[in-house]
Amino acid sequence: MYTYLITGATSDVGMALIKKLGSRGRFILAGHGDGEKLKELCRQLGCEYLYFDADFTDSTATDRFVEKVSACGWEPTHFVHLPALSVVNTKFKNFDEERFLADMNVQVLTAVKICKWLLPKMSKAKFGRVLFMSTSYVLANPPKNTAAYIVAKSGVTGLMKSLATDYAANGITVNCVSPSMIETKFLARTSHIIVESAAARHPLKRNATVDDVVPAMAFLLSEEARFITGVNLPITGGSVIE
């Protein structure tokens, strides 16, 4: 029985991934704010789940989350790390350092803390799948005025490469997916001009949907993807080609 630990599970990508994986295992889910829709989805799918509300901007809250997951008795075979603060579009000189720290806490430090606890366990089990959400922005020239987001996502991809190297001998794969802009509620605070012009510039004249992205994620989490590790997979529909 697989046990999926998914952080940022209340996101549209998180919910779509749970739907896709539903029958394959049970879920330890972390979100922040309204978790009702997520719980309803799990009830509809009839899957076993535990839900934790955790504010990952606060590193002590992250520590408490890891303690709770550790005490719950379910040992994750898979870890999917999705959370991110919405992208702030601000001139570099106007960014405050707190924003950088908050982004680093949510995206990087949370993954570090969870992996420090979890990867030794996966190593003993000689099996593990770890997947981080990155962005196509790190694959080429990033958009202007998004430094905090880019720094954090670059941290995530760096951590992925390090862990993939450190744990390759233990049957654990660690990868990233880097989608281009996905139209989800994550963009709620992003100007419609930015979203629409990204679609207009895209070769397919549209942005990605969760259904464009989730199948690739499910594949990287599958048994069959055992020989793929240390990869940052672009899912861009051709808008960024490395």
Partner: protein, 80 residues
């Protein structure tokens, strides 16, 4: 709001976006007159203008703006 008022506010926005307090806008100012004015900064300008004037652009309306004068006219129409 007069056309002059819109110009004054746009000048503020341009100076902030391009980080240059010496920018002076006229009806005929185009992207060729401001060194860093590229398609990405164009989007940042539009986002800042929407916010400042509390208006919503349609992408089709803003993708072929000829110059600052056309931008001012569009803003004037949207706040009317």
């Amino acid at each position: 709001m007069t056309r002059e008022d819109i110009f004054a506010r746009l000048t503020d926005i341009f100076r902030n976006v391009f980080d240059d307090d010496e920018i002076v806008l006229t009806d005929s100012t185009t992207a060729d007159d401001i060194e860093d004015w590229d398609s990405l900064e164009q989007i940042n300008l539009l986002v800042a203008i929407e916010k400042r004037f509390n208006i919503k652009f349609q992408l089709a309306d803003v993708s072929h703006l000829e110059n600052v004068g056309a931008m001012v006219d569009l803003v004037a129409r949207l706040i009317a």
